[in-house]
């Protein structure tokens, strides 16, 4: 459930201290890394890698140089995986390592309905990051029998390839996405 939603960076130091004192993050060795800091760090890597792939691989090769396409059925069609698929494949590989965290890419307007927000924190978090540009959403929630620190980060359309794919896909509920618009969110969960 939603415990606290914070504006970054205003309350981040407080949150870091509070979370650090309570944190027993699964793979933290010193005990000094708060779940929030860990989530932010994970997101920085995810966002950077995905932006690099989207801009310098997919967008460059499909839109600028037009040498190959990026399609949903990339294996069958010998094309590039879509950035969202690359992200999801990475999430599954990371999850298999059972390091105490998971992440996913969700949207209020997903192409695959399974990626619609399901938990209360996901729903509130996606609304929050869409309405508060540049801010993240943090909360704690209990899912099943386990407690999680959950962070939600805005997922923004960084390249033409993002919006053209979503606007043209027959399963997409929207066809009016524009560049730099928040299309959804990255949700990172850290087991407590």
């Amino acid at each position: 459930m939603n415990i606290y939603a914070q504006r970054v960076p205003a309350l981040s130091i407080v949150a870091c201290c509070a979370a650090a004192s309570a944190c027993s993050s699964p793979k933290s060795t010193s005990g000094s890394i708060s779940p929030k800091l860990m989530a932010d760090a994970l997101h920085a890597v995810m966002e950077s890698d995905r932006t690099v792939y989207t801009k310098f691989v997919v967008n460059r090769l499909t839109k600028e140089e037009k040498v190959i396409e990026a399609t949903e059925h990339w294996k069958d069609e010998s094309t590039l995986p879509l950035p969202a698929q690359m992200f999801r494949m990475g999430a599954e590989m990371a999850s298999a390592k059972q390091l105490g965290f998971t992440y996913s890419l969700l949207s209020k307007w997903p192409i695959n309905k399974q990626n619609t927000p399901r938990t209360e924190v996901e729903k509130v978090g996606l609304d929050f990051v869409a309405e508060h540009k540049g801010e993240n959403y943090y909360a704690e929630e209990v899912l099943g029998d386990a407690k999680y620190f959950t962070a939600v980060y805005a997922d923004t359309a960084v390249a033409e390839a993002c919006i053209s794919c979503h606007n043209d896909h027959p399963d997409s509920p929207r066809e009016d996405f524009v560049l730099n618009e928040v299309m959804g969110g990255v949700v990172i969960r850290i087991a407590r």
Binding site: H73, E92, A96, T102, R118, E122, L143, Y148, P170, P173
Partner: protein, 471 residues
């Protein structure tokens, strides 16, 4: 002084320990007790596992195994295939905390939630030990997203040729719509040609063995002392081995370089690694891979010919030495053992007529359809896409039979025809001696869905104005 009761107790205990020890002994260590472990089986094993049921440790890798160890055992044998077919329901989907409520209803994190072993009273096709409406646990609202599915029973999702829990490579919506207008049969279709020889001549691991020269009977390098070698040399000289410069010693050389008379699959593996790897995980070789004696037709649950009961299944069983005639391996070797109705009807089928023409030289290469064409298909190698190899693990494309659609059936037939044919069990039994009736709705469903999604038009009908599903 010890009473006679204590002496009897001691003797009884000793005999119990000895008996238990013999039961627990690996079945191949003491042949007298080879089947003693059957006493430990808690129930009839599934058709997929019965061959290796006496190798308890293959699944129960440690005493009192926990679910993690059992999962590891499942993945050891089935993980590669699940990964290769892009499992539609990977474990990561269920270990994601956001699906905890779904896992509470159906704990699909573990293979054994759906595939419990030794429980025949609840086990159906594919080793499924759940009621067939398991899709409902997560997809109860499918009718709102897919109006075509609104009135369908959840027990029908996977049994009508529409969905497969793991492998949907030939069943996903875009694939269905792309193949909407396939013709039933392409009479000019050809199956892929193997290119093992070309691969062997360029692959570093085997090119020292395979050479671009055709050896004759006088070129053989078997020791002069080898007895009764005349017929063997003649068979070899007519084989693809001789045609690829492969001489006797290339196979019959032991590790210390001396002549070795008796060979096993290890000798073949040097040049045929993917074939051996497939064989070892197949219905034919899985017993060898877990340290049991080779499979024999007498051990099979499928109907087999009595006169073949004694045979043991190794490479040689189908690829009789030293001719290594692949045409023999593709048909006669199969029906020499199998006598289920599908096998018996093969020689009455249109597929066999094509095979006969091809073997007689009246059909072009690749136009014949043998048993192996469907059950040991020629595909681009899993790890080397430039090499066309014969899949030697028939499980890869056996059941559920939708697994055959892409690598096998679509080589010659359209998707709609294929879905209908594979869904008709009586047609399968008769070895496809007639034309299937249209029964599978999945292509129509996918077409209607695509056409109706927010008024968009499907990519293959840019100028269409309204949905016109295939009749």
């Amino acid at each position: 002084m010890l009473s006679w009761k204590w002496i009897l107790w001691a003797i009884g205990s000793l005999l119990s320990f000895i008996g238990l020890g013999l039961l627990m002994t690996s079945p191949n260590h003491i042949s007298l007790f080879a089947n003693s472990r059957t006493l430990l089986l808690p129930g009839r094993t599934t058709d997929g596992h019965y061959q290796i049921e006496l190798s308890c440790e293959s699944c129960h890798s440690a005493p009192f195994t926990d679910v993690n160890a059992l999962q590891d055992a499942c993945i050891r044998c089935h993980g590669e295939e699940l990964s290769r077919v892009e499992d539609s329901h990977p474990r990561a989907k269920f270990t994601d905390p956001r699906n905890a409520d779904r896992v509470a209803k159906l704990d699909a994190r573990w293979c054994i939630t759906c595939h419990r072993e030794h429980q025949p009273e609840v086990t159906s096709a594919m080793g499924l030990s759940l009621p067939t409406d398991y899709c409902f646990a997560c997809h109860e609202n499918v009718g709102s997203d897919r109006p075509t599915h609104k009135d369908l029973g959840f027990e029908t999702c996977s049994i009508n040729g529409c969905h497969n829990f793991h492998d949907n490579q030939a069943l996903y919506e875009d694939f269905l719509t792309q193949h909407r207008d396939d013709q039933a049969t392409d009479v000019n279709a050809k199956l892929p040609e193997r290119n093992l020889r070309e691969w062997a001549l360029t692959n570093t691991s085997v090119r020292e063995i395979a050479k671009p020269i055709h050896l004759g009977s006088n070129d053989h390098n078997a020791p002069a002392t080898t007895k009764n070698i005349g017929l063997v040399v003649q068979d070899w000289s007519e084989s693809s081995h001789a045609a690829s410069g492969i001489n006797c010693l290339d196979c019959h050389r032991s590790e210390d370089g001396t002549w070795q008379n008796n060979l096993d699959h290890q000798a073949c593996k040097r040049c045929h690694p993917s074939e051996i790897e497939g064989f070892m995980t197949s219905r034919h070789g899985m017993r060898i891979s877990v340290g049991l004696s080779p499979m024999q037709p007498s051990l099979a649950r499928l109907p087999m010919r009595t006169q073949s009961s004694h045979k043991t299944l190794t490479c040689e069983s189908c690829h009789a030495s030293h001719k290594y005639n692949t045409s023999h391996a593709a048909v006669e070797a199969c029906i020499g053992c199998h006598k289920d109705r599908h096998s018996l009807e093969y020689k009455n089928s249109p597929h066999y007529a094509l095979w006969q023409k091809s073997v007689a030289g009246q059909g072009s290469p690749g136009s014949g359809v043998s048993c192996a064409s469907c059950h040991f298909p020629r595909i681009a190698n899993y790890t080397d896409r430039n090499r066309v190899t014969v899949v030697h693990n028939q499980n890869d494309y056996l059941r559920p039979n939708e697994k055959m659609i892409r690598p096998v059936c679509l080589s010659c037939h359209g998707l709609g025809f294929t879905l209908d044919a594979l869904a008709d069990s009586s047609l399968v039994q008769s070895n496809f001696q007639s034309t299937p009736k249209p029964t599978v709705d999945s292509i129509n469903f996918a077409t209607v869905l695509r056409w109706s999604l927010e008024g968009r038009r499907p990519p293959w009908e840019k100028n269409s104005d309204k949905p016109q599903p295939k009749q």
